[in-house]
Symmetry: C3
C-alpha cells in the first residue's frame, strides 16, 4: 500500500456481532439445506496432493464432485456443474494454456468459479497463470493472507485503486493477526471481481485463526475452528472445494460464509474427538456430514462495513 | 435400443437364487483365498482423485499394487502383473497415445485388464480414448449404468448386434432400477469382449443399488451393500481395482463377482460402524481386510440366463 | 558382487547395541525436537499415489510440506525449504528433463535432498532418470533392498569400487533377510554420494523387517516396526518424506535414523490399536504426532563398523 493510500485512510465502521435474525443467517442456512437437498455438482481442477480430500469434503457436505484437467473436459463438464473450483497448487506444463482457455470459457458463459491461489508468488509459471486471470476473474477467491496479498499485487490493484478502495483498515489499528494484513487486498480483489460479473457479486475469503470474508462492501470475521486444520494437508483446499459446492446454489458471499462457517464448526467437533491429525481428518469428514444448517448459520459472526 | 430390437425381444429366463452348493460359489471363495495366499500384483493406470484408495483397497483385499502412466512403464510392469486396471477419470494430454499403445500391447500379449470408463460420454478426448478400445477391448468392464450405456453406444454394438444380442431385458418388465437400464448394453459389451479373447471369456459389472454382472450368457444380480459408498469418492474405482486383483487369479466372471460381493459385504460392515463418510472409508478398508472368503462366497446371488 | 570381491572380503566388526549414552541418541532426539520446534519445510516431487500421505506424515511429524513438479517451481521453492524429497514412483513424460534440471540445481547450490528410487529397474524412462542422478547424487537414499541393489547396478558402483568398498558383508554370514542383501550396495552408494558432497556426509536407508542405515562407515540396524506397514500404500514413501523433514534440521545419518526409528515406534503403536489397514493408517498419523523425541531416541539400535 502506498503512503498516499495510508494518508487517505478513513475510519472503518465499528465491527458488530451479526444479530440472530439477520437475513444473512437465513441465507447461509438455506445454502446448507439446498446442498443437502439437491446434491449439486461442483467440478474441480485442483492439485494432486489434496484432490481426494477435496472430493470427499464436497461429498460429505452434501454435494457431488468431478475432477479434470483437460480444458476440453472441464469446459464440457461446466455445462452440468453449478460451479467450479480451480487450485494452482501443483502445476503441469500444459496448465497455463488450459487454465487460460478455461477461465475465458467460464467468463464468456458466466459460469461461477472459486480460485484458490495456492503458493501465489512462487514460480514464474504460477505467476503467469494467476496474472492471466485478472481480466477473466473468478467469482470467489479463497486463500491465506499471503496468497491474497500476492494476488492483489500481481493484478496491480493497489496502484489502480481509487482512494476509497484503499482505506479498509481501521485507522490507527494494527492488524490483529495475519488475516487482517490481507484486508485491503481482499477488498480490492472483491471489488475488481464484482466489476467483471454481470450481477456485480463476488467474494474473497481469507482463511486464518479468524477467517475474513468480504464482498468489497461488508467484511465478515468468523472466529473459531481448530488449530489441527494446519496439521493436515488440504484443509484450505477442501474448504475451497466446498465453497464451490455452496456457490452452485448460492450467491458468492453466502457461499463463502457458509463454507467457512461449516469448516469452523466441523473443525471444532473433530478436534474434540481427535487423538492426532490422522483421526482429526476422519472426524472432520464425519462432522462435515453431520453438522446441521442451524449449527452453521447460528455461528458467531462479526460484520464491519467498508462501503 | 431400436424399436426393432424391442419387437424381437424374447422372454428372459426367470431369475433364481444361486444355490448354496452352486459351483460358482466355490470359484468365488477360491479366488478370495488365492488372493490372500499369493498377494498377486495388479497394476493400475488410474485417475488422480482415487489412486490412493485403489492401491489401499487392493492391498487390504490381499493383493499388491503398482501405478504408472508411461506406456513404457505400464507395458514393462505387465510382464510381472497378473492383470491391469485402467481408469479414464482424469486425463492428461499424452494419455490418448499412451493408452492406445497399452491396449494394443495387452491385446497382443493376451494380458488381462479391467476398464473403468469413468465419465464416458463427457469430453472429446475421453470419447476418442474409449472408442479406440473397441477393437482391443478389456477383459472386464466395471462402471455405473450410464457409463456402460455410453460405452456401448460409442462402440456401436446395438447397431451391429444380431437379434439375440439385443433381447436381454425381461419381456414386459420395466427396468427396476438404473442398473437394469444398462442390461442390454452390458450383455452386448460382454459378448463383444469375449469374441476378442482367445479363451472367449469376459465380464461386465454394472454397479448400483443392486449390482449386475454378466458374461453375456448369464446375468448375476447382487443385492446389498451400503448407500454410504456414494458419499466417498472412489468406491467404484477401488472396486474396479480389486476386480483386477481377483482377475489376476481367476476368470473374468468369477473376478467380477468376487470383487462386487466383497464390496457389498465390506460396505455393510463399514456402514454398521460408521458415523459419517470419513469413518466409513476407514472401516471399509478394515472390512476389506477382515471379510472372509466364506462371507464373500456365501452372499445372496440371483442368476438369470440370457443365452 | 564379483567373485573377486568375495575373495577380498574382510571380516566386518561385530554388531553391538548402541549404548544409552551414545552421542548418536542425543543427535536423534535433538533432530526430533528441532522439527517439532521449528516446523521446517521439506518440499517434495513425488508420486501421485501417496503424495497425500507424504504431506500428512511430514505435518504429523512436525514439519511442513509443499509439493511441485515444474523444475521452475521446485527450484524456486528450494530457496525456502530445508531439504527436498524426490520419488520416481509415477512418471510423466516431462519428468526426465525436469528432474535432470532439478538435480543439477540442487547439486550446484548444495541443497540437501532425499531420493526414493521406487521401482528402480522397471521401465526405460525411470532407468534413464535414475542413472542421470549418478553425478549429481542425493544426500540420502531411502528404498527397499531391491531398489538399492538396482540403483547401485545402474550407477556401476560395484565395478568401480575398490576392494574395501566391496567388503561390507560379515564373512561367512549369509544375509539374514532381504535388507542385508543390499548391504554392499548401500555402503557403495553412501560412499559415492558422500564423495560428491562438500561436507562429505551422506546416508542410505534400506527399509525392511530390520531397517538398515549406513553412511558408508557405520551400519545401523533398527529392529521393530509393524508388518501392517506393507498393507498400506505409502509407508515407505512417507518415511522418505519424513526423512527429508529431519534432513532439513540434521545431518544425513541422524535424519535417516530419526525418521526410520520414528516410523518403527509409530508403526508399533498404530498396530496395537488397528483393526485393519484403514485404521492402521489413521493411528499411524496420530502416532507420528504423539511419539516423543525420547521414545524415538531410546529405540533399540545395533551398530557395526564397515570402515
Amino acid at each position: 500500500m502506498s503512503e498516499l493510500s495510508h494518508i487517505a485512510s478513513h475510519v472503518q465502521s465499528v465491527a458488530s456481532a451479526v444479530a440472530a435474525d439477520d437475513p444473512i443467517r437465513e441465507s447461509i442456512a438455506q445454502a446448507v439445506r439446498d446442498v443437502k437437498a439437491t446434491t449439486p455438482l461442483a467440478a474441480s481442477f485442483t492439485n494432486f496432493v489434496t484432490i481426494n480430500l477435496v472430493a470427499n469434503a464436497q461429498l460429505a457436505s452434501g454435494g457431488t464432485a468431478a475432477m479434470s484437467f483437460l480444458a476440453d473436459d472441464v469446459i464440457a463438464t461446466s455445462a452440468i456443474s453449478g460451479a467450479d473450483y480451480v487450485n494452482v497448487g501443483t502445476l503441469l506444463p500444459f496448465y497455463r494454456e488450459a487454465l487460460d482457455r478455461i477461465a475465458h470459457a467460464f467468463h464468456e458463459s458466466g459460469h461461477k468459479w472459486v480460485l484458490d491461489p495456492v503458493a501465489a508468488g512462487i514460480g514464474t509459471e504460477r505467476t503467469a497463470i494467476l496474472t492471466a486471470f485478472r481480466d477473466v476473474p473468478p467469482t470467489v477467491i479463497r486463500g491465506n493472507a499471503s496468497e491474497i496479498i500476492a494476488l492483489d499485487a500481481m493484478w496491480g490493484l493497489a496502484d489502480a485503486a481509487d482512494d476509497d478502495a484503499a482505506v479498509t483498515r481501521p485507522a490507527g489499528v494494527e492488524s490483529v493477526d495475519e488475516v487482517d494484513s490481507a484486508l485491503d487486498a481482499a477488498v480490492r480483489l472483491a471489488r475488481h471481481m464484482a466489476s467483471h460479473r454481470a450481477d456485480g457479486t463476488a467474494a474473497v475469503a481469507v482463511s486464518g485463526a479468524v477467517d475474513l470474508v468480504t464482498d468489497g462492501r461488508d467484511v465478515y470475521r468468523l472466529p473459531g475452528g481448530s488449530a489441527l486444520m494446519t496439521k493436515i494437508t488440504g484443509a484450505g483446499c477442501s474448504l475451497g472445494g466446498v465453497t464451490a459446492t455452496y456457490l452452485a446454489v448460492a450467491d458468492p458471499m453466502t457461499a463463502a460464509l457458509a463454507a467457512s462457517l461449516l469448516y469452523n464448526r466441523a473443525g471444532e467437533a473433530a478436534e474434540a474427538r481427535a487423538e492426532g491429525p490422522g483421526s482429526f481428518q476422519t472426524h472432520l469428514l464425519d462432522a462435515l456430514w453431520t453438522t446441521t444448517p442451524e449449527q452453521v448459520a447460528g455461528s458467531p459472526i462479526d460484520r464491519t462495513s467498508v462501503r
